[in-house]
């Protein structure tokens, strides 16, 4: 179920106020998720735990904070652990406003190169870090190097936190609207920062979409954006159609069978169509591939 960013923010502020009124600090819930002293054999706390709320996140991760704010961020707890060999592990637990936000951040940051692992609801392991999401939480655990000792430490931390988070959450429903067959990587987007992997400056006007999903397939990419209702979607479809028709960045404009197709200045074929509350984009090096992919998904979308 979609909730607008504005409503999420108001809800978060009210919750923060209510929690404070009960005499609890909002960060207490995060502290309870941390590994207990007996959980991490051979590792001790070097720095932290430290709680970051709202804009304070910039102090921890600098400009990386804007992405978290886009997905509906609440707070973070950060801890550094060290072992006898001076190896270090940095743990960051991010509490998002809803499970969709936690999944969304994970889907963007997990990339394509890690190995799937068994932590949380979904997780990856890389040579020097573990990343997972569970309920409203997104967790990263990074080691100072790729040594076996560090990797064992990462796993101990991950297991402890996974155990301490007792709830689960649902993935965003919009994900199910893209085909699963041949899907290499899928992400959930709530704003234009989540779309930075595809170069389309025209999309900046799409900051008014409510949510979306990006799917990478062999030879093509699909982007499905929801505008809340079909009237809104029609307005944006008209707008992007006009951009494609008039901008010098695009050539070979064609509009047939509900699909607008163009070639951009990077020789990518781009198709866009509207169905109900959705705009669907397909991008490919080949025009026929982009068009076929767009048509296949278009026929399956609910027309609301």
């Amino acid at each position: 179920m979609h909730t607008s960013r504005h409503t999420l923010l108001v809800a978060a502020l009210l919750l923060a106020g209510a929690t404070s009124a009960l005499g609890q600090s909002p960060g207490d819930s995060l502290l309870r998720l941390l590994p207990r002293p007996g959980d991490l054999h051979g590792w001790s706390t070097l720095e932290g735990p430290r709680i970051y709320n709202g804009e304070d996140l910039f102090q921890l991760i600098d400009g990386g904070a804007v992405l978290f704010l886009e997905y509906g961020y609440r707070r973070t707890v950060a801890v550094e652990y060290r072992d006898a060999d001076d190896k270090s592990i940095n743990l960051e637990i991010y509490e998002m406003q809803d499970p969709e936000g936690a999944y969304g951040i994970y889907s963007i940051r997990s990339g394509e190169n890690g190995r799937a692992a068994e932590f949380g609801q979904e997780s990856i392991v890389n040579s020097y870090f573990i990343m997972f999401w569970k309920s409203t939480y997104y967790i990263t655990i990074g080691g100072s190097d790729t040594s076996a000792g560090c990797r064992r430490g990462l796993e101990m931390v991950a297991k402890a936190i996974d155990r301490n988070i007792s709830t689960v959450g649902e993935r965003p429903r919009i994900l199910s609207l893209l085909p699963r067959r041949h899907l290499i990587k899928q992400s959930f987007v709530r704003g234009t920062l989540g779309l930075s992997s595809i170069y389309m400056p025209e999309l900046k006007d799409l900051s008014r979409f409510t949510e979306g999903t990006l799917g990478k397939y062999p030879g093509y990419t699909l982007l499905l954006l929801s505008y809340g209702d079909s009237a809104n979607a029609r307005i944006h479809f008209a707008g992007i159609t006009e951009d494609f028709r008039s901008s010098q960045r695009f050539r070979r404009f064609r509009f047939a069978d509900r699909i607008v197709s163009v070639t951009d200045d990077r020789r990518r074929s781009i198709c866009v169509s509207q169905s109900g509350q959705y705009l669907l984009y397909s991008l490919s090096a080949r025009a026929s591939t982009a068009r076929r992919a767009c048509k296949r998904v278009l026929d399956s979308l609910p027309r609301l």
């Binding site: 921890l60 940095n90 990339g111 870090f129």
Partner: protein, 313 residues
């Protein structure tokens, strides 16, 4: 204020005593400007896994450190050091090579413009062997307010006093991914010379993050890019040395994320040229990047890499 016959340090001292902010871009003496041609090349990129040695080779190709640092000079180093995760901080072997070259050229004092964390130098095995040189590195935690007349988004900044008062400024960033601007390198590294409150203005202008939620974040990315171009009006380095050895390719600036290992050290007399060259290691085209575009609009940097004399080793 007369400035024709005074040096930089005296100029800064008089401004501070007068209680006046410094106006960048048109008052600071021209000697502060970068981009002076020294050797046969403007940019040298050295590939290999001996990062300390390769840093020296890259600077040698530009005329050697003695072309930039004279006996008795104070040198300011802006090192991207605050991060912990692999690929997020400048490999300390690179600034250590710079320190050695500066001392050999007769530098009197060396300052870090952004203080390195205490464990930073221990990340290299060279730290023990070079403990004496490390001991010569100082840091002074003092900020000064600067007006940026030609700034389009950033009109004022609280900037490290060492940045303005040192005779030679050397910028030593790492090229890596950045979730806001898609990458960070020499130009964005200048944020390390600014105070926390100034850095916040790069992201949100004069409004808070809370109000920005209602405005949406795309506009903030352009604000950030323009502010980065603006802050580089204050002072540009005499020498930029980019760490492209082992770099964070995703989830920047703090990571963790995928690591790429181009194993390259790049030295350049022009910070924009260094940036144009280095972004390829992240699979980016410099023409697509707003930070570089806005820098060129301000009138600094080459129009393309064709104007840059490049040596690859």
């Amino acid at each position: 204020m007369e400035h024709d016959n005074i040096d930089r340090r005296e100029f800064v001292k008089r401004c501070v005593l007068a209680g006046a902010g410094i106006v960048a871009g048109n008052v600071i003496p021209a000697a502060i400007a970068d981009g002076m041609q020294h050797g046969k090349y403007d940019l040298c990129a050295v590939r290999g896994d001996r990062f300390f040695d390769n840093t020296m080779k890259a600077v040698d190709a530009l005329g050697g450190m003695q072309a930039f640092v004279q006996r008795g000079n104070t040198v300011g180093l802006l090192i991207n050091s605050p991060w912990n995760s692999p690929g997020t901080f400048t490999n300390p072997e690179i600034p250590l090579a710079v320190v050695k070259m500066c001392l050999d050229a007769g530098a009197k004092e060396i300052y870090t413009i952004h203080e390195a964390p205490k464990h930073y130098w221990k990340r290299t095995r060279l730290s023990e062997k070079m403990s004496s040189e490390i001991g010569r590195i100082q840091h002074v935690d003092e900020m000064i307010e600067v007006s940026i007349e030609k700034g389009k988004s950033l009109k004022q900044a609280d900037i490290s006093k060492s940045l303005l008062s040192c005779d030679v400024f050397i910028n030593i960033p790492i090229i890596k991914d950045h979730e806001g601007t898609r990458y960070t390198c020499t130009l964005k590294n200048m944020m390390g010379a600014c105070s926390g409150s100034t850095c916040r203005r790069f992201h949100f202008g004069d409004s808070s993050g809370i109000t920005s939620v209602f405005k949406g974040y795309y506009s903030n990315v352009e604000l950030l890019a323009q502010s980065i171009a603006d802050v580089n009006l204050i002072r540009r380095p005499s020498l930029s040395i980019v760490d492209a050895t082992e770099i964070l390719a995703t989830n920047g600036p703090s990571g963790p994320g995928d690591i790429r290992k181009p194993h390259e050290v790049i030295a350049a007399t022009d910070c924009v040229a260094a940036e144009m060259y280095s972004v390829k290691h992240l699979g980016l085209n410099w023409e697509d990047l707003p930070v570089i575009r806005y820098a060129l609009q301000h009138g600094y940097g080459p129009r393309s890499l064709k104007e840059v004399r490049i040596k690859n080793i």
